[in-house]
Symmetry: C2
Subunit: 465 residues, 2 copies
């Protein structure tokens, strides 16, 4: 599909000539996200610089009948920001200003194109903290984070992006500008539409501005890595620490991932002993007493047989290396063409769930290596299956699709989620009903109809109408 | 309006004969909430004991064309649960069981009729804590708390009810049973309908079950009351403490409220000095160091002139008495026929906002006494105008309605909320557009249409269709 020249002219009138691109390089760059499963094929990329320009493009889309893909940092892992069908991409790259800092409310009003790290740094300059953090913080934009309700590595203490959104300005699919919640902590005046837009993956409209809450900066963070003899022990360790300390992170990963990260990234092993699983935990030592408590709990875990060996970071450098054991996993396994899944179940059900999935993979795909890691304190597991060297990429993905169905059937049996934090986009769309009932999906579609009756906003994402 | 006998029979078939009441006493009791502005006039009260019974009543309402008012603890302050027009009240009084405790997830699945205090006590028995707390905790039910997104006195640290809802089972106005979010921390699979039902005041359907998150119990809570020479000093005190301590509460009240509470409740004054305003703050002293820090900050506030006198509770009994200075205000002023408003603005705007409202009242109603108190750490102010003894109730309310418009115009000018935590119900319905735009209200109505096309669920609440 290509745009009529008259429509292109009108786009140029709205955003300015230099802010419409149709060259092949731009179409390729702004037409895709980190998933590489769909060939990018947008008609044009526009770079508005104001809410009014965004609104004008949306109104034109309704009038002229083209589809829009909202585009942030394009770091998504579910093809939610891929334009594969002649859509017009609206990039927020030029709407990247911090607009206002409100110290009394610890709040900051920003344009949606602000990059996560930019917000984190801004918070730090004010002596505060923006706690949502994840691997792509250097390029992901807040609009995209809000569109997928991004999570990451600090959710156990600070929650998802949703918890930090005080207010939103959005342009709906119909082209209305709405100011949602007006930035207040307390506002009980009818349905909270803000929360509908959070996690809507741009299918109801575009988030153009957000007011984000900031937090007191954490003090004296301590990092421990503990080796456990089996997976249930990871859960016991979580329970033991959580009963006495407020954890800021609780991650886990398997021995295979430690092997790969130490081998490929030059990160030292946490300790000599190799154990099947590792837990990484972090807490604020607000007093000396708390560090002492952590060591007590550690000793208790060793005595119970839940922990075989462990280390407490003694310097900033060592703490950083311990974190790298977890944070470098994604980058490390990228070379093995991993088949990634991002799933969650109740924490209670995690051990049985992992055992079931391991059994499926072991029985049917004994040549596949599985790298488990994830945010175990939230029940969020990243399941990564590595391509055997001697298997062609196409054959590998074909076989993974079969695994997928079995994985999602297991997710459904455990009443879990087929997408914990990556969103549905296009890659998870065929599996949506493994988590949401058919009846519920009908309501989702009816809500879409309310905000975007002509289906101009990111059509074909989450569900097909 | 009364129900056809055939419809009453069918209701009795669904819930059982003994669970349908039409006697005058029952109609009066279950037909109203704590607001006494509308005469209760329901047709019948039904007390279902299962989700399927609730669903059957809703389906019958669609078929037979009667309206439903969902009813919890009936402690609402906006007439959201009042049945004044021949509705059938669905009381959740018999759906009051704690269904399942999930220790690994610190979660508890409950029926919607569970009373707030019952949940708080259950949490305590598990060594945990349910942090949403307010004056009506002894009778309000969780279904109602969720319907209004209840707030209360610990929001500054723990947030609103919304933050503690992991999952919901609802019966929509169409009669569908939906299981929303499936209790997970992370679930990025399309629009989060859970958050639409939170704060919907029963207009989209009935919340019948909820999974609530629990928290580590607070340790060694310390309470301080500080007297300030003016209102801006209250804000300076907030800022000073918040910079160094994680406050679990920050409330304020005026000298008039201290006079009334000490006079009528027999609570001792916090200290001899009378000051125009008082701040009550609470924090966890997780180490001795933190108590020392609090005293340092206190001294700093005195040196700056923000605090004239202050007290730190030295015993549990004293701490309780300090809390009573705040918590007994509502009960104390009830005898003065107060005209209550529950409003919020950004914290930054609170001092100017209060000054503006005070000026309006002082200029036009010099004979009115104003009691200010509220959750200042959230920007939530309770404005209470007391009836002069020599003014008839009708005349007083008539004059208050005029004040109301001016108050809400001021709220609008400050981009605030006409209802911070009490909901809209019927009492705030005429003023909804002071906080939500006309365009936004049109979306609210369209969403109502999706879940409740025949308008059987709590019609005439929040907005008129």
């Amino acid at each position: 599909m290509s745009l009529a020249p008259a429509v292109l002219s009108r786009l140029a009138e709205i955003v300015g000539d230099s802010r419409v691109r149709t060259d092949a390089d731009s179409l390729k760059t702004w037409g895709c996200d980190w998933t590489k499963m769909y060939a990018p094929a947008p008609s044009a990329i526009v770079f508005p610089s104001s809410i009014e320009q965004v609104q004008a493009v949306v109104l034109l889309a309704n009038e002229a009948g083209f589809a829009i893909v909202p585009s942030g940092g394009r770091t998504g892992l579910s093809a939610g920001a891929v334009a594969a069908n002649g859509e017009v991409v609206i990039s927020l790259d030029y709407m990247n200003k911090v607009l206002e800092f409100i110290p009394e409310d610890r709040a900051v009003r920003i344009q949606a194109g602000v990059v996560t790290e930019q917000l984190q740094n801004f918070a730090e300059e004010q002596g505060l903290y923006y706690p949502v953090d994840f691997a792509s913080a250097g390029s992901s934009q807040l609009g995209g984070n809000i569109g997928t309700n991004a999570g990451g590595i600090k959710v156990i203490k600070y929650g998802m992006t949703r918890n930090w959104v005080l207010g939103l300005k959005v342009v709906t699919g119909k082209g209305d500008i709405l100011e949602l919640n007006k930035d207040m902590i307390k506002n009980a005046t009818g349905y909270d539409l803000r929360h509908l837009f959070i996690g809507a993956e741009g299918t109801l409209g575009l988030v153009v501005e957000a007011t984000m809450k900031l937090e007191r900066a954490p003090r004296n963070l301590q990092v421990m890595v503990l080796g456990t003899p089996d997976f249930p022990s990871v859960m016991n360790v979580l329970k033991a620490f959580q009963a006495r300390l407020d954890l800021t992170a609780f991650e886990f990963f398997s021995e295979l991932s430690v092997q790969l990260v130490t081998e490929h990234q030059g990160v030292p092993r946490p300790f000599d002993t190799a154990t099947p699983f590792y837990a990484l935990l972090e807490f604020e030592a607000l007093s000396e007493d708390m560090s002492a408590q952590a060591l007590e709990i550690f000793e208790h875990c060793v005595a119970e047989g839940w922990v075989v060996d462990g280390v407490l970071g003694q310097s900033e450098a060592q703490a950083k290396n311990l974190w790298r054991l977890r944070e470098d996993i994604s980058e490390t396994i990228a070379r093995f063409t991993p088949y990634k899944n991002d799933i969650s179940v109740l924490i209670q059900r995690v051990p049985a769930f992992i055992a079931d999935i391991d059994a499926i993979v072991a029985a049917q795909y004994p040549d596949f290596r599985v790298v488990w890691f994830g945010h175990i304190g939230d029940g969020n597991l990243h399941l990564n299956i590595l391509k055997p060297d001697d298997l062609a990429k196409e054959d590998f993905f074909a076989r993974c699709k079969t695994v997928n169905v079995q994985v999602f059937e297991t997710v459904q049996r455990y009443n879990g989620s087929i997408s914990a934090e990556h969103g549905v986009g296009m890659t998870k769309k065929p599996y949506l009903t493994y988590t949401r009932s058919e009846v519920e999906v009908a309501y989702l579609k009816a809500i879409k109809q309310v905000f975007d009756p002509n289906n101009v906003m990111n059509p074909g994402k989450i569900f097909d109408l």
